[in-house]
Structures are given as C-alpha cells and as structure tokens.
Subunit: 159 residues, 2 copies
Amino acid sequence: TERPVTGVALDLNHSRINVVGVPDHPGVAADIFMALGHANISVDMIIQGVPGDASRQQMSFTVNKDQVEDALDAIKPVLDKLGGTAVADPKIAKLSVVGIAVGSTPGVAGQIFEAVSSVGANIEMIATSEVRVSVVIQDDKAKDALKAVHTAFNLDAVQ
Amino acid sequence: TERPVTGVALDLNHSRINVVGVPDHPGVAADIFMALGHANISVDMIIQGVPGDASRQQMSFTVNKDQVEDALDAIKPVLDKLGGTAVADPKIAKLSVVGIAVGSTPGVAGQIFEAVSSVGANIEMIATSEVRVSVVIQDDKAKDALKAVHTAFNLDAVQ
Ligand SMILES: C[C@@H](O)[C@H](N)C(=O)O
Ligand SMILES: C[C@@H](O)[C@H](N)C(=O)O
C-alpha cells in the first residue's frame, strides 16, 4: 500500500505494572486478570513474551494512572498465593502508530523503532498487530518521539 | 457493551522466534526489525515486555512458517554484532479474540485466559489492544482452546 502509516497517537494516561516470577502453567494469567476484572479495572495493554528464569513467567500490563494502586491491591492476593511480585512505573508514554498493514508491511515496524530511538528514547514495551504498532517509552522523550514518527512518515503534511 | 466479544480466529500459519540477551538501549529494536524489513519479511506480531537479566532485553515475534529460516538468517548478523540469540518455535497456534472493547472491558481478558487454560493449554504469549486479545499456545491444544472460547462467549450461537 502507498501509505502504510496513516496516524500516530500519544497516550500519557497510563502506567505500567510489571509482574515477574509467576509460575508458568495454565490458569495463572486467568487468576491475575480475573482478579483485575473483579476489581472493575480496565486493562489497556497486556504483554507477555519471553519467560524469565526457567519455569517462571512474567508479563506487563498498563492501566489508567489513577487505577494503579487499585490494580496492585487487586492482584496482591493472587501473587501471595502463586508467588511473584508486581512493580509499577507511572512515568510511561505510549505511542501508537496506525495504518492498514502497518504491522505486517516489511520494514515499517523497523522504521518506527528507528524514529523513536533517533531521539534517544529507549523502547521499553512493544506490542503490534497488523494495523497497529504500539511502543512504550519513558514520558520525558514522548513529545520528541511523536515528532520523529510524524516526520519519518510525513504525517505532518496537510491531508 | 452487551457483546464485548464478537469473534475468535485460530491461526496456525505462524512460527515464533524468541530473541534473548540483546542490549537494552536505543537502536536495538530498530536494527533487528530493519534487518527483517530488508529481507522483505513480514512480521505478524512483535512482543516486548519485561526485560531479562539486568541491562539485557528480550522480545518475541512471529513470522509465516515458511519464512522462519530467512528471518533467522536476516537477524543473525545483527545478533552477532550486538550479542544475543534467537530460537524458533514452529509449533504454535495463535487465537485472536475480537470485539469492541474486548481488551478494555474489565474481566473479559481474564475470561478468555480462563477458557484457554480450561483445556490445559499453557499461554505462552499475550498481546492485547482495545479491540483484540491474542494468545499464543502450543498447537496440540489449539482446536480445544478455540472451542472453549466459543463456548465461553456463546459464539457458536446462530447470529
Ligand atoms: C531492546 C530494544 O527494544 C531497545 N530497548 C530499543 O530501544 O531499541
Ligand atoms: C504465565 C501465564 O501466562 C501462564 N502460562 C498461563 O497459561 O496462564
């Protein structure tokens, strides 16, 4: 497609929670996220990729900044029972780049990562689908990273 | 919303590649995915969540089964230069559950994980957005997991 990238949005409303050292067997993710559901907490992104140490798994998720304490409270009993710890990071920014086949067009994700890193922003989380590439960085470089992505894909041109 | 989940799809066309032990500084993700782009490899999902050991990062991505060798060849020079290793798993299945606010409606992700784990399938990767929850499991339990999600959300009902 001529224009794999059609927009980019900056989200400063969420905090990240990293959960590490949980057992890696069926039911663990269900327990954690059912607990959040019972506490009526809306989860923006869930990411689980490569495990931690042998037979322990880890995951990150993001919630609204004003729900971090409630989220940590909700999962504490689950982590106490299963083992594992949760650590919050309130100073994140999420950049989401959207477009038809943005995730699947060869090289586009690489160009997005290059634009973000060009301003010195370290990419802390990545989640992509065919139509959306989301990266999480520290919020101090968020506006620069947003500008760099705009420039890399000519998004500041008048449409 | 009345029906946060409107569909689920099973994808058996992709393999996973885990990249571990890469440096955690700006430019690393760009190098890896630009190399894949130059090799014209389409990446289906990229997931990076919690780091590995101190100052080393890790990520998973999925490519078409028939592109695994090309993908490993493409990133080898990058990993040789930066440090890090890549390991492929060809026997994965990806279940994607879609619907308005499927990711953000409290408890829905937890119910999806519960359905998948109810058939004994271990959840190996998770990536969610507001409208899509994707989980990766081993392919031997894929059909059972698909059925369980259908049942959990009444998706086999005639619409
Ligand atoms: C590991 C990789 O994501 C690195 N943090 C980067 O910004 O490119
Ligand atoms: C860690 C967690 O995802 C676990 N593998 C599960 O299936 O629930």
